[in-house]
Symmetry: C2
Subunit: 306 residues, 2 copies
Amino acid sequence: MSVIYDRVALIGLGLIASSMHWAIKRGGLAGEVTGYARTEATRQTARDIGLCDRVFDTMAEAVAGADLVVLCVPVGVMGEVAAEIAPHLKPGATVSDVGSVKAEVIETVGPHLPEGVHFIPAHPIAGTEHSGPRSGFAELFDNRWCLLVPAEGSDPEAVDRITRLWRAMGSNVDHMDAEHHDLVLAVTSHAPHLIAYTMVGVADDLRRVTDSEVIKYSAAGFRDFTRIAASDPTMWRDVFLSNKNATLEILGRFTEELFALQRAIRTGDGEHLHAYFTRTRAIRRSIIEAGQDTDAPDFGRGARKG
Amino acid sequence: MSVIYDRVALIGLGLIASSMHWAIKRGGLAGEVTGYARTEATRQTARDIGLCDRVFDTMAEAVAGADLVVLCVPVGVMGEVAAEIAPHLKPGATVSDVGSVKAEVIETVGPHLPEGVHFIPAHPIAGTEHSGPRSGFAELFDNRWCLLVPAEGSDPEAVDRITRLWRAMGSNVDHMDAEHHDLVLAVTSHAPHLIAYTMVGVADDLRRVTDSEVIKYSAAGFRDFTRIAASDPTMWRDVFLSNKNATLEILGRFTEELFALQRAIRTGDGEHLHAYFTRTRAIRRSIIEAGQDTDAPDFGRGARKG
């Protein structure tokens, strides 16, 4: 329990920012947390539930005097937010973000920031399918990974400080370059999300399978897809548009592989299917061993209710 | 708590059969449960853990005198199992199954069964990614749906009896015709499973994204996919091969839709993406309202550990 930054400003008060606020409060990691949200409704909610010590009606006020400013807005508006806060940043402050895509954020935010301000992009790999100021909780980052993407020549002390903050909020921290980050995330998150959105949309389209049936008999596979496909539409639109190349590359490989499996089904090639399914099973074990999920037999079950 | 069948025989002792056993015992729903498994190892495990009152080395012995025989084997071997047990069935007995595909099971099992034996196919929509005799638990069917697919002219009393059994094991029960069942399940379960298998395979293939990274930074989307893709390979191979037409039809629609979204990403059509993602979000709400999942914000989280 020790203060890492005197003042942290959170720009955008959704799931990640509100979870950061509660995690910072849990650990006593900042002297003060200020906040800004675009809509009056969100600012009012934040004030009602005690989210941030002070909520401001302008970004300029929220970032004034802050040692750390974290952009928690959709990737598509990071650039304009950076342009707006730039004149009000305290010299020596650190600016970071929590976007799911890093190359484009660096490209759009970086040029706006004045000399003497440290820019250290970050991506906490954590979330739920909920969004908005009420959706945050202090434990969101516990035992999850936060990837930092510092530019070459970043101030080591500034990098160390934000690393300590994420660790104190419960995360494991790794460093990675932006391009590699975007490819890894295309595989582990962006492509799977688009696929889940697609499948849920297909189910919705099928008039022969009435809505109520799809919902009522929503088996394990599909139910998990709907959970993924309930994520924030604006955030995800921006993720796909800003990580276009890596996402399209992975989707291309996915389609190729899917066609091979479809052909195996069509031609009755059971051996191909069985060998493929046996291989994928092993990956699951590795994830459980890595501590990123549990082996509890709750799939398709109500154990989640716990 | 009242006995519905004097003797129930479970053929194949995996996740579903072992869960049925424990659910029957929980409710006192059968005078005796007998069991058979193909391998000596499974039979020995069953005896060790008290799965079934008596475990037999032959199907003939297991089904002899049984009022209800439930085929809990992969869909691909249902026909040969039916042929083997047919001569040993008690007159007036009911034969059922728990296969995820119904039209092909009816086609392959039906012709083998003698006059005077009732054939009432069933599909409990419940499961976990685990398999084998140790994976079952009494609560698996609680509040899940079991779809019965009785042929026209089925004995109403026999249908009523097996309906009562599934209800007493915790399920909701609906009736449906086989072809419609296979289409609904292709949407809600079979296509999503193939897609999840595919995506996990793609991740495994990508040499630039090392295994450890995919596993370590396994974000919410991908982690849920690996859970789905850890399901029993033999069972799923048989599902795809025996529900070929419906699965290929849904996959065709899926691919069409995926291409449209890919094009939207490529051309930067954010409106298309946003509208699509907003629509799919609504489906999630319906599933929660239907009581088939909960709204707990545990997605991508460790709450499952509870």
